[in-house]
Point group: C2
Chain length 396, copies 2
């Protein structure tokens, strides 16, 4: 990956030290050698280099009662990463420290269809309000998630269906210049999966699936602890898996795609139809009030006991569960995490998905737990920061 | 993996040298250093050790016209691996050299339901007829594929549905004792995928799917050049993915599983029904002759123009293609290889699968080639030998 020059570790040992300190936090110097399998003298030499180059801080002796006291080693206190999660209808930006703790977080509605210039300008402005960028603190790196297929190598979207004007736009180059740091770009579902692995419910899990149910439906695939992207970067594109050839027409031109049944767009369509046909007083009232309906309206209606909304959630969960059941048989994952805006429907949705998956998984020795995202809205920005740190904390 | 002691490389450099010589064949000594990124002196030292330990041969100067002549390095000429592929209804055994070329190959019908003692005894006898085993040549290692879920770590089948008596049977230990060499055990579909990657159509492909259509239906998943087995070793178990909840009852108890529609067992059932109902003179004649019908009868009937058989193949291909289309969207593989006994139906089957997959893959930037197995019946034994060699040619 070609990005702007940055201070990076000089060898694999230094890279490993930085990654361990990022994930495990500040560590007594005395116990660090065991963690990275380095001799005392080699550890001392590598730490000296990391300190000299500003990547690591070694503090005074830690509080200790009795025995010898060991100084504490940590990722340099001033290290800052930027995590950016561009969704179809919102943008989220976060500033983190070197351990990927969120220091500041902003989000606001944004229509990705306004195009890359407007979108990226707003991302840079939001970074500025968090104190990052040219006039603010120096960033070690930034990660960006986009709601469509991305060439991670090129740092550009590739034929994204819901992002007019973004095809092959040089997102990485533009942001690297504006932010003055290395930038990594990936699909939004992949960074959400990375976020859950970094700081969420999938923390210790090597093989898991992250199902995002937002405007569209996608799947992040983590294999042996790393995001699996497929041969041309499209792995996890499950929104157009065929549920039933006799089903509704999808925006892609096929019939019966999963997204044609469920997801933000299908829910809005079905809710509006129910409201117009007088089948739901709740949804009709909301539609009259706001002029439009979305997944959160259906969630509210279902919560309030509206039978039409409950049916929409139940049917959608069954469709997702049907597809997911097949994927679970295929991947044999240790965990399934459900996230994205529609996942805000919570327990009713999850219960429906679970029952459909487990019903089909009877012959399997071990069906995996199916759980909600723990980081919710913030999974993407944490994962984007992690993506950036994986690059910056690897040997140049 | 715990196996009998064997002469194995002493470090990662020696392991890499052996693997390169296995896959690339005999190599002039002068050009070997570049291939494994070793200095002249280091290469000489590691080769000396490998020769001293009998793992590598260094021959006289190779034929060369002009310039300096370089001696030729190769995996020791006497190196022998055994590859065993136990299917539901047949057993295949092959002896290979250190480059995994087949030196001898035997196969015969065998009913895996006769149990592990009888099955493994026959495997050892067949190995003997190839000159391998206690009384014959010394084996460097043996690989074994079994038609059900396998714990690779434990070397035993785990709850295999079509293998009564095999659950937790110590296949690895028993064969290691009988054959006097390290033994590795895996699922039969995984070894077929490995075989195609070693010497077949998937040779240079890092990410691909191998669909086996035999008595059952399974999928080998190769990710970043390695077989992916999932959290509990069940990855690729696609035979019970739901095609339609309204479909026929499957042996597993669910309805509408892929295997309930297609595969050897479903074909035999449908062919017998057609014959009994007088819908196919060809199949009725075969049934009267042999008392039973199998996939090869359907293949012959389809070849002969029998319309019922053609429908069975066309419908089956459409079902497989429907499921495969979803998996292709999900995995974004570089290639799909179709193998197994039913794949012997050849072009008609493949054409049907392709058309179903490509019809659904329109939104994808790149649908992968879908091709028939190149090694056919021998994919399993080659892959089993490869599995064994990966172990023996890794640092102890």
């Amino acid at each position: 990956v070609e990005v702007l020059a940055a201070v990076r570790p000089e060898n694999a040992h230094q890279a490993r030290l930085l990654q361990v300190l990022r994930d495990a936090g500040p560590h007594p110097r005395a116990s660090l050698g065991d963690l990275v399998s380095l001799s005392r003298s080699r550890l001392a030499a590598e730490l000296d280099r990391l300190v000299a180059r500003g990547l690591v801080d070694v503090g005074g002796p830690g509080a200790s009662r009795g025995g010898r006291r060991s100084s504490v080693v940590r990722v340099a206190a001033g290290t800052r990463f930027l995590g950016v999660d561009v969704g179809a209808t919102a943008v989220r930006v976060a500033l983190t420290d070197g351990e990927l703790n969120l220091l500041a977080y902003r989000h606001e509605p944004m229509d990705v269809r306004r195009g890359p210039e407007a979108g990226l300008r707003r991302v840079v402005e939001l970074a500025g309000t968090l104190g990052a960028g040219p006039a603010g603190v120096r960033l070690a790196g930034a990660g960006v998630g986009l709601p469509g297929p991305v060439s991670v190598r090129d740092g550009t979207p590739v034929s994204p269906p819901i992002m007019p004007g973004w095809h092959r736009f040089p997102v990485r180059e533009v942001l690297a210049t504006e932010l003055g740091c290395p930038v990594l770009v990936d699909n939004d579902v992949n960074i959400m999966a990375l976020g859950e692995r970094q700081a969420g419910v999938a923390r210790a899990v090597d093989d898991f699936l992250f199902i995002k149910i937002g405007t569209g439906i996608g799947c992040g695939i983590v294999v042996r602890g790393e995001v699996y992207r497929g041969t041309t970067g499209c792995a996890g594109d499950i929104g157009h898996i065929c549920v039933s050839v006799d089903g509704p027409v999808c925006a892609c031109g096929n019939t019966g795609c999963l997204e044609a049944y469920f997801g933000g767009a299908a829910l809005a369509r079905d809710a509006a139809a129910a409201a117009s046909a007088g089948r739901s007083a709740f949804l009709a009232h909301r539609l009259a009030e706001a002029g439009t309906l979305g997944p959160s309206d259906v969630a509210d209606a279902a919560d309030a006991g509206d039978p039409v909304a409950r049916d929409l959630v139940r049917d959608g969960a069954a469709r997702i569960g049907e597809v997911l059941g097949g994927l679970v048989s295929f991947v044999n994952p240790g965990l399934v995490v459900v996230g994205g805006r529609v996942a805000g429907m919570g327990h009713a949705l999850l219960a429906g998905i679970r029952s459909a998956v487990y019903r089909r998984s009877v012959p399997l020795p071990a069906a995996p737990p199916i759980v909600l995202s723990e980081l919710g809205d913030r999974a993407g920005v944490v994962g984007a920061a992690r993506l950036a740190s994986d690059h910056v904390f690897s040997a140049a």
